[in-house]
């Protein structure tokens, strides 16, 4: 079946604008994760959802970042008043579940965000 999909694949925005990034997880996967991949920083965890709730938002870098997930499926990551340091590749992953049993995380292709 289809893997994790993300849109848009590329986004160029001006500093100060808001952006929305979308993630469609694999059907049936209840857990969804957002990570950020930037040069020199590796992969940083942002937030994860189990169903529609977010038990761990500890990775969100500032209150300009927010995410939601509705219907236990699609998730949107919103960055308000973008700054140049927000430029990165935003990766989404999903897994069958989370918790004591580890389920493999399957990653999407990412959204490359460039803030000019």
């Amino acid at each position: 079946g289809a893997g994790v999909s993300q849109s848009p694949s590329n986004k160029v925005t001006e500093k100060g604008k808001d952006v929305e990034l979308r993630c469609d997880p694999i059907s049936g996967h209840t857990a969804l994760y957002w990570y950020r991949q930037s040069l020199g920083q590796g992969l940083e965890f942002l937030i994860y959802f189990q169903g529609n709730s977010a038990p761990d938002k500890s990775g969100l870098p500032s209150d300009r970042f927010s995410a939601e997930r509705t219907g236990g499926s699609v998730s949107t990551l919103t960055i308000q008043r973008t700054q140049q340091e927000d430029s990165a590749v935003y990766l989404c992953a999903s897994s069958l579940g989370s918790g004591t049993a580890h389920y493999e995380q399957y990653f999407g292709p990412g959204t490359r965000l460039t803030v000019t």
Partner: protein, 112 residues
């Protein structure tokens, strides 16, 4: 606090040579360790996990709790092994259960 360290940003070897990508971690409990790989223009994907104790594409990794290391090894590197490799840790309690902590990655280049 949990932390994953990959000391080498870049690693180059010739085809047929042995390769070892280093990974050290800090975590107070019993973590799970993983290696993820990202080939050029492809998605990040799981290569192997320590609990499986298996060899994937000729790669192996042994968890050494005494040295808190999980180095990735292959006795004879191939050109197609060229990729970015990330070591990752998953904790065993609370909020550390849900997420992966990644190292900064090692870019492996295998020359012909």
């Amino acid at each position: 606090a949990q932390r994953v360290t990959q000391p080498e940003k870049l690693l180059s070897v010739f085809k047929g040579a042995p390769v070892e990508l280093k990974c050290n971690y800090s975590y107070s409990g019993s973590p799970e360790l993983f290696w993820y790989v990202q080939y050029s223009r492809q998605r990040l994907q799981l290569l192997l996990r320590h609990i499986s104790r298996e060899s994937i594409k000729g790669f192996t990794a042994d968890l050494n709790k005494g040295e808190t290391s999980f180095h990735l090894k292959k006795p004879f590197a191939q050109e197609e092994d060229s990729a970015m490799y990330y070591c990752a840790l998953r904790g065993d309690r609370g909020s550390t259960l849900g997420r992966l902590y990644f190292g900064r990655g090692t870019q492996l280049t295998v020359w012909p």
